[in-house]
């Protein structure tokens, strides 16, 4: 179980997370939705320890990431997680097999002789075969995502964090990735957090969905509850409407013009 309590994170003067309280139950897939810059990915990075929260707690199976001190504690904590990066973040100097097995050396005691087998098994789980010796540059966007997913599951994590798994993929490949997430969920029985703004993906893979807005959680509910929400901001986002309580500038200068107009009015 992952439990976040009052997580606050700022970068300089910019507050990105303004007090996140979220509980992800074991075995469920929590989908986090929200517009760009609302803090979804930052939250995910706080969960795995890439960013340290300014305040608040993130407790995973009784371990609070904010209180871990020694390298051993941190590495024990990270061993529980697989992380799928938005662009895959595959090491381009290594082959696919080396990418997949990279974490085994540091996260597990698996002997070197078994690496090749694990790479093939992980690739099979994401529907790929005979690409072990390819370099990432030789793969298509969808294949890169799958290899990155294979890398994330190679060390058999209990938790998988997906950062925008379908972004940049065509609709069919997006659905293939959604199916893979569901398959992995069934086969590996992992707990997952999926950050996305692809609503089709959110409804398909999510046990529950949390809507982030400006560093806060607006609503948490099942896909059905989110689909039929009465909250106007959540409704605007899930239906993808430009008009509504969430103000997005159509043109950058509109906000400046409005501000100048207001100032002129005062003068």
């Amino acid at each position: 179980m992952i439990e976040a309590k009052g997580v606050v994170k700022s970068f300089g003067r910019r507050a990105v997370l303004r007090g996140i309280d979220l509980k992800v139950e074991s075995g469920e897939t929590m989908v986090i939705i929200g517009g760009s810059g609302c803090g979804k990915s930052t939250f995910l990075k706080c969960v795995i320890g890439l960013h340290a929260p300014d305040s608040g707690e993130i407790v995973v199976d009784g371990l609070d990431i904010t209180k871990l001190k020694t390298e051993r504690e941190i590495s024990d904590y990270r061993r529980r997680f697989g992380y799928l990066f938005q662009e895959g973040a595959l090491f381009d100097s290594m082959t696919v097999a080396d990418n997949i097995c990279f974490g085994l050396k540091y996260l597990t005691d698996v002997p070197l002789s078994k690496y090749r087998r694990i790479a093939s098994d992980s690739l099979a789980l994401v529907g790929l075969k005979d690409v072990e010796d390819f370099k990432p540059a030789e793969l298509s966007g969808g294949m890169k995502k799958r290899v990155a997913l294979a890398r994330a599951i190679a060390a058999q994590p209990q938790y998988i964090l997906y950062d925008e798994p379908t972004t940049g993929l065509d609709p069919i490949m997006s659905d293939v990735i959604n199916d893979l997430i569901l398959d992995l969920q069934k086969q590996l029985k992992v707990t997952a957090i999926v950050v996305t703004h692809d609503m089709k993906s959110a409804y398909k893979v999510g046990s529950r969905i949390a809507m982030f807005l400006e560093g806060r959680i607006l609503q948490v509910g099942t896909p059905e509850q989110i689909k039929n929400t009465s909250d106007p901001a959540v409704r605007q986002f899930v239906e993808g409407l430009s008009q509504g309580p969430i103000k997005m500038k159509l043109k950058e200068f509109e906000a400046d013009e409005a501000r100048d107009g207001a100032r002129r009015g005062k003068d």
């Binding site: 990075k45 795995i48 320890g49 890439l50 390298e71 590495s75 990270r78 061993r79 997680f81 697989g82 992380y83 990066f85 938005q86 662009e87 973040a89 595959l90 090491f91 381009d92 990279f102 974490g103 050396k105 540091y106 996260l107 890398r151 060390a155």
Partner: protein, 266 residues
């Protein structure tokens, strides 16, 4: 007027603050590099790969640079002594002293920073902006351990060796001009060197290469791992890594020389 002053001092203050912040981060990186070096196993495979990249790949360019530097030193010293004494004198001494104590270590460090230092900053910078450095964390290792330490160790072991080769090629370049242009016998040229140089002079230059290796590798790694902002950021980081490394080599060379002189290694 106030606005102009404010803009001026505001900008200056910001720059100053950023420079101080960068310095702090650099010191922090150096500290964690040394901590990791004693805390965890060294990535020897990565270190060997880096040694090959930095050493083997830089060898032709450093050798050629020093060969021509030796040639021009011989040409200039021969012309000057010929002008004053009617005969070219002490060409071997001038070339060997200049190269072994100063130009060999400094020029090799500068050439290697332009070649290998830039490559390190660009590679680590690209890894940073494509989240590969974050991926290292999530896969259970630390970028300092996996990326920085092998590069530092590779620089510390390869730059002194490259400098020795550079010293030799520079002296041979000088011999070539002394022989062809001024008709000085090879034996005389070598005697000029052996009679006037001692091991101390060589040690003086050799010790400085370790300081340069540390400066160039850490600056390049620092600029790489702190890259921000996509392709433009990688370009900026690479340029800054080279410019800062070269400047540091030249500035620190003075202080290192002064210190070695004070210690009597001269």
């Amino acid at each position: 007027m106030n606005a102009v002053l404010e803009a001026l001092f505001g900008g200056f203050g910001k720059e100053l603050l950023e420079a101080a912040e960068s310095m702090g981060h650099f010191v922090f990186l150096v500290r964690s590099t040394f901590l990791w070096m004693f805390r965890a196993k060294i990535e020897w495979r990565q270190t060997l790969i880096q040694m090959a990249r930095i050493g083997v790949d830089s060898l032709p360019v450093t050798a050629m640079t020093m060969f021509f530097t030796g040639m021009v030193l011989a040409l200039q010293s021969g012309a000057t002594t010929k002008h004053f004494f009617n005969v070219p004198l002490f060409i071997g001494t001038v070339v060997s002293f200049s190269i072994v104590m100063e130009l060999g270590p400094v020029l090799t460090a500068i050439v290697v920073s332009g070649r290998a230092g830039a490559a390190i900053a660009a590679e680590l910078g690209t890894m940073k902006v494509t989240e590969q450095i974050d991926a290292l964390y999530t896969l259970g290792t630390d970028p300092v351990r996996y990326l920085v330490i092998p590069r530092l160790l590779a620089f510390l072991s390869v730059l002194p060796l490259l400098t020795v080769v550079s010293d030799f090629t520079g002296i041979v370049g000088g011999l070539f001009v002394a022989r062809v242009k001024y008709d000085i016998p090879t034996v005389v040229y070598w005697h000029d060197i052996i009679d006037n140089m001692s091991v101390k002079h060589f040690v003086h230059g050799f010790l400085k290469t370790f300081v340069f290796a540390f400066l160039v590798s850490m600056t390049s790694c620092y600029k790489g791992v702190t890259t921000r902002g996509g392709a433009e950021g990688v370009g900026k980081a690479t340029t800054q890594a080279v410019v800062i490394s070269m400047t540091l080599v030249l500035v620190i060379d003075y202080f290192a020389t002064a210190m070695l002189n004070a210690l009597g290694i001269t």
